[in-house]
């Protein structure tokens, strides 16, 4: 049972970091489909630089730096050069999938996966036995998650930046009239997204494990995006959505262990999170559609 909880948390943490990060962009009206790629880049750079310099913190710092750069490029393309955000986003992800694999083989002469010399501390040491034994498996980032959620919530719901982003996304005319520099605010939003994705990637690679393997995000970035819509662009609800996906995953895992050979094909259990996303996105779209302004 406790293990089940810990599994849920560990599977949720990267989703929530990426989801809350992406939330900044999405609220500012940018459907940031490059999150998947940014997570992967974050994971790789953390392992690469961390192992090279022997410090997980330098690794994460490097990951953040790289993601800031990538985010700026993405912003420049879609804001300044008017590139299509969806296609450019897909491109960004592809670039990162290829780039991480390429650099791994070019500079570390490793293919497929590489182990990391460094990992995130697991600060809390639980008792050897008993209920709380598992908490010692949670990484620092997992413990910092509540703080992170709080900060994001403050930034989005309790700061002028948050208000400005929301206005830009919902009603640009208002932002303009309020004298907001729209494209700069978008840049800030996307930079924040980049930072959070770096953390999400770090948690994946050196939180639970100490390794990077090609395409290890495995679609988690898209799930994070789903969590945002699922959570109807609200930080708290996005967090809950992230937990839900983690939970769904954990259920899938444990169902094979306890249910044993079930008659429900595994694939259908694995489909649930995706189907749920479609369902909730549709609910939300329906709700927003009805009180949307009249066209013409």
């Amino acid at each position: 049972m406790e293990q089940f909880v810990v599994t849920t948390i560990r599977l949720s943490v990267p989703l929530i970091f990426a989801g809350l990060g992406g939330l900044f962009s999405v609220r500012a009206g940018i459907f940031h489909i490059g999150i998947e790629g940014l997570m992967l880049a974050g994971a790789f750079v953390t392992v690469a630089i961390g192992s090279a310099l022997g410090s997980v913190w330098l690794g994460i710092g490097g990951a953040i730096a790289v993601n800031l750069l990538l985010s700026w490029v993405y912003w420049f393309l879609i804001d300044r050069l008017k590139a299509d955000m969806i296609i450019a986003g897909l491109g960004l992800t592809t670039l990162c999938v290829g780039g991480t694999a390429f650099l791994m083989s070019a500079f570390f002469n490793k293919r497929g996966s590489m182990t990391s010399q460094v990992r995130l501390p697991q600060p809390v040491v639980g008792p050897q036995e008993g209920l709380l034994a598992y908490v010692s498996e949670l990484s620092l980032l997992a413990w910092l998650l509540p703080l992170f959620v709080l900060i994001v919530w403050l930034l989005l719901r309790r700061s002028r930046l948050g208000l400005q982003l929301a206005a830009i996304g919902e009603y640009p005319y208002a932002a303009e009239a309020a004298g907001v520099n729209i494209s700069r605010s978008k840049l800030y939003a996307m930079l924040i997204t980049g930072i959070c994705c770096a953390l999400a990637g770090a948690e994946l690679a050196v939180g639970g494990l100490a390794a990077f393997s090609e395409n290890m995000t495995n679609g988690r970035g898209f799930i994070a995006l789903a969590a945002i819509l699922f959570g109807s662009l609200d930080p708290i609800r996005t967090t809950l959505a992230g937990l839900f996906f983690g939970l769904a995953n954990a259920v899938g895992i444990n169902s094979q262990i306890y249910a044993g050979a079930s008659n429900v094909p595994r694939q259908f259990i694995l489909m649930l999170p995706f189907a749920a996303t479609i369902f909730f996105v549709t609910l939300r779209g329906y709700a927003s559609g009805r009180n949307a302004p009249r066209v013409s």
């Binding site: 309790r158 002028r160 400005q164 929301a166 919902e170 303009e176 009239a177 309020a178 013409s296």
Partner: protein
Amino acid sequence: MTRATATATAAKADAIVRCENIAVAYGGFQALQPTSLAFAPGQIHALVGQNGAGKTSFARALAGIVTPQSGRFFINGREARAPTVRQVRQLGLDIVHQRFTLPPSFTVAEALELVSAKKHGGAFFSFNALARSWLQELKAAGLEVSPRARIRDLPIETAQSLEIARALAGHAQFLILDEPTALLSPSGVERLFARLRQLRAQGVTLLVILHKLREVMEIADTVAVLRGGRLVLPPTPSVQLSQRQLSGLIIGEMPAAVPGASPREDASIPAARRGVQLAARQASTRQSALEPALAGVSLAIEAGEILGIAGVEGNGQRSLVDILTGLMPVAGGSVHLLGQDVSALTHHQRRALGLRVVPFDRLTQGASLSLPLWENVTVCDAPRFRQRRRLWLNIGAMRRAARAALQQFDVRYDSLEQAAGALSGGNLQRLILARELAAAPQALIAAQPTRGLDFRATQFVWQVLRALKEGGGGILLVSSDLDELFHLSDRIQVLRGGRLLGAFPPPFDRRAIGDAMIGAQR
């Protein structure tokens, strides 16, 4: 005028805002000629003029939203040349826009915090603190609204008073209100004016853009008039002006009465086409964010007549056209086309019955600027061009049809393939007419058909509409240009605050109609 200029120069001395040769142009289009004027402090100044006179352009220039093409202005004696919104606000000048600027999903407190110059709370604010501090601002502004309410749930009047409160929270000493009464009920207007007087008492200077002279006379200390982007009357004490003088200045000196359209002789109209073409019975709509709701509007357009709808923009014209076309459902009452109740039919189905429309805005509603000319002309009834016994379109035929139509309506273009966006305003409008009138429609709705067109193009459009009428078509002409209405209409009704006021037969009394539009008493 000499008296007026005298006062204007007098005002310069202790003016709170003074402009020198402020001019505004959009692209090549000169919306505001170089204009100089000054506003004395502690007064309520009114700025009036017809639609498109340049009032908003002037206001937006002052507020730092559009950068003036030339000129400079002084606020409290401090010079500001092409300032930003924030700089202007620092100087104590703020504006309440013609269109609302509060995001619908925000709570009152959030929305105010977003747009207000001054921060309540530091980097992060506590919502309660925010709510509390804004609650005080609102109380001070005498507003009974919860800071937790969502903007989208507020009545329009409240939303507007919020905008005012927002501006004052930034300690504006000079406040511009662009058509603040457009969407308000009479009692709402009363409350607004009470508030404005109260502000004046507190020493705030106000510049109010208005259309209704009764309101001007009621509230304004001085009045300035713009016509066609020119200042025709600098701020002048309203006591020195009569409504007659004012409406004269606004509308331009013209013969008091216009003969109107040639009375039609029914004989000329094919018998098949006689009778009511388009009608609305007690039609009403829900309140939209842009306009007052229509309340029990009834009208009927005979075959072979042009019914003119006069009125200042934003009094329900768009809603009226939307329910007649089927782009918006009626909340009550019914719409009839060729004697058939079409209230439930879509725009597509009404077109099939022979309705055609010339929309308000040719750039965003009339034609796709990125598509080639010939597609713009033929796309809506493309199915007509199916080749005999084949599924596919005969493009040659379509292009021929398009060329013919464009030629018939004298559109100047260099290639059928060029994007419609490359056409001039006048030519674009001709293209739209060519498309809508291709199959001589039974009923036509023409909304602002000559807005922004040059003389030649305007004459052409008028001539086309008359021709359609002679052929027995029924036309609803919605325009804010009285000359146009007078030249074309067989009858005129005035739309004000979502209600249709009594029908005016020719010869048209410009004064009477103008007064009905702007709600002036005689």
